[in-house]
């Protein structure tokens, strides 16, 4: 088991290096001279040349990338081109807002999608199931930002119940959280439903019935426990999805998180800040996915068995074929 965790952790390193390199490379292709941009139009060519040398802009991309990673490991993501602030402090200061929103929307997703999914599976084909499935289809097709604007229209402009933007009270978090979690709630409800339906059809459920266990016991002890395995994935996926979606929701509700910062800086062509924001979110995304995988392997005995069997020198193929 420890070996599995270690293996996954080691695999994370090239992934993170790859992510940072791709984003760094893409953004390094931005046309225009950053030295000229910082110094303004009145700078002499000599000043610009000196600035370029100081910023290391004449080095090849690979060299600049290595320098960047070296700095990043020490928490130095460079300075902003538009405000000359330290990028790290800037991004890090914004992170709590993004994190809080992602966390809240993950909670809401789990709180809604698990009961709804179970309910749908139990009442398969009934009115409740059909209604849930139609609603989830609509929600999965609704752009997050439009849902946010629509709620703003109804609850802030028409009903005047909730504030449109700002973060003065807990009420400000209601609409962003719902808008952020609606699509992932819809998708995860389907996953939970499919997983419950899948488990109900398994042989061990038939065995439990055959030995005369009561329906309620079968459901609680045998079906639900197994069906809840994908929930870990649900948790991770919804958190990771919220990080990506934060760019949109933070813009709708003017929440000063990493996503809003990113878009502000994209407009100013402040490449170091954009770079840091993208890398920051992508790395957290990768780490969350990794944690999800590891947690899953801890919970699912089939994956655990794969690794204990391998240490007992048995072919792991059997274990993968078993479920």
């Amino acid at each position: 088991m420890l070996r599995y965790v270690c293996k996954r952790l080691v695999m994370l390193v090239p992934i993170i290096l790859g992510i940072t390199f791709i984003v760094f490379f893409i953004l390094s292709l931005t046309p225009g001279d950053p030295a000229r941009m910082i110094l303004g139009a009145n700078a002499t060519p000599e000043q610009v040349a000196a600035m370029r040398a100081q910023m290391g802009l004449d080095d090849p991309v690979i060299l600049r990338y290595i320098k960047y990673i070296g700095g990043a490991l020490r928490g130095d993501f460079g300075t902003s081109w538009s405000t000359r602030d330290r990028v790290f402090t800037m991004v890090f200061g914004r992170f709590p807002y993004t994190f809080r929103l992602a966390f809240l929307s993950m909670l809401l997703t789990v709180a809604l999608s698990i009961p709804l999914g179970i309910y749908s599976a139990v009442r398969k084909g009934g009115f409740g199931d059909n209604a849930t499935m139609v609603l989830s289809m609509v929600m999965a097709a609704t752009p997050k930002f439009w849902l946010g604007i629509l709620m703003m229209l109804v609850f802030s402009v028409w009903l005047r119940w909730l504030p449109t933007s700002g973060l003065s009270s807990w009420k400000n978090y209601i609409m962003p959280t719902i808008a952020m979690s609606a699509a992932s709630t819809a998708i995860n409800t389907r996953i939970v439903r499919a997983s419950v339906l899948d488990v109900i059809r398994q042989d061990f459920i038939r065995t439990a019935r055959a030995k005369g266990a009561r329906e309620s016991v079968i459901f609680r002890k045998h079906a639900l426990r197994n069906a809840m395995l994908p929930v870990v994935t649900v948790l991770g996926m919804s958190f990771a999805g919220s990080l990506g979606g934060s760019v949109l929701i933070e813009n709708v509700f003017s929440i000063p998180g990493v996503g809003l910062l990113m878009i502000e800086r994209v407009r100013q062509k402040d490449i170091p800040a954009v770079l840091a924001c993208v890398i920051f979110i992508a790395v957290v995304f990768a780490v969350v996915n990794l944690i999800t995988d590891i947690l899953y392997s801890f919970i699912d005995p089939r994956i655990k068995a794969q690794y204990t069997r391998r240490s007992a020198k048995k072919p792991p193929k059997e274990a993968t074929a078993a479920p």
Binding site: G18, I19, P143
Partner: protein, 297 residues
């Protein structure tokens, strides 16, 4: 929806027609797929005849400040926007933009994904390993962020959007193609083609890919819905199609500033996005059930 005609016009049943005919017969019984196709056909018709219904230059982008922020009425079906432009005209012209970018982006995704996936799946070994590790990295970046990075670097505009969406969509497409090619590679017809002296290119292009199309088409039709969402998201952020082009996301973004004065600017474009995406998903699900009955539970 011309398959029934095609089937009566060409009764000769070769293998390919058989698949499509069978798929159509199965799809015809699937209500939601038919509804999806009808919706999609309506949107495509609106987009194709957008200029006939309301001219682009004289209606969709013509500023008429005297008529700004009007609610829906008989002369302006969806009302007017903050510059007095007819919202209905803008939205049907927006369908043009969304559908064409979505389609182009999906074609580019297919081309990239099929090239990478078939090379990777066909040759296997070290090539496969290198390509797939590379794809893993691309898949680890949330697609919206990758698109934002590309737009920041190369500027806004249709070609960049298409490229950005294709690059973020190609990895998952290449995985599907790879899996298909890997399983087809061992089939007898491939061996037969080889025995007849076919080279790698011929085997892949003429024998393997045509036989693995069904799951790829299904994935592509479902992906297109995602493309349309991404285009509108980027336009909402001001990173998509530049104004005055009436992209749905861009209309929404402008409408948000006037949310207190006019509800129509924010409601209608969003509704169009939702309807288009649902229609595409219904067609995609229907295609999956029709082309790949094994997958249906």
């Amino acid at each position: 929806m011309n398959s029934p005609n095609a089937q009566s016009a060409a009764p000769a049943l070769n293998r390919k027609q058989g698949l499509w005919r069978e798929a159509w017969l199965r799809m015809r019984r699937n209500t939601s797929a038919i509804v999806g196709m009808a919706l999609l056909a309506a949107i495509i018709l609106l987009a194709v005849f957008a200029n006939v219904i309301a001219d682009y230059d004289t209606v969709a982008i013509k500023i008429d400040v005297a008529n700004r922020l009007k609610p829906p009425s008989r002369s302006h079906l969806f009302g007017t926007d903050e510059l007095g432009r007819d919202l209905f005209a803008r939205i049907i012209h927006g369908a043009r933009i969304s559908l064409s970018i979505g389609f182009l982006a999906e074609m580019a995704t297919l081309a990239l994904g099929m090239a990478l996936g078939s090379v990777s799946g066909f040759y296997g070994g070290r090539i496969d390993n290198v390509v797939m590790r590379f794809m893993d990295v691309f898949m680890a970046i949330p697609s919206l962020l990758l698109a934002i990075a590309m737009v920041t670097a190369f500027g806004t505009g249709t070609p960049i959007l298409v490229l950005a969406i294709a690059v973020s969509g190609a990895p998952s497409m290449s995985r599907i193609v790879r899996a298909q090619v890997m399983s087809a590679r061992e089939q007898e017809y491939v061996e037969a083609a080889r025995a007849l002296g076919a080279g790698d290119m011929t085997v892949v292009l003429r024998y393997i890919l045509p036989n693995t199309m069904s799951p790829i088409i299904v994935q592509a039709s479902l992906d297109m819905a995602g493309c349309i969402l991404t285009v509108s998201s980027l336009s909402y952020l001001g990173l998509g199609v530049p104004p005055p082009a009436p992209e749905w996301g861009a209309i929404l973004s402008a409408g948000q500033s006037y949310i207190r004065d006019a509800w129509n600017i924010t409601v209608f474009p969003g509704l169009m996005i939702v309807i288009t995406v649902i229609a595409l998903n219904m067609v995609g699900d229907g295609l999956r059930d029709a082309l790949d009955p094994k997958l249906k539970r």
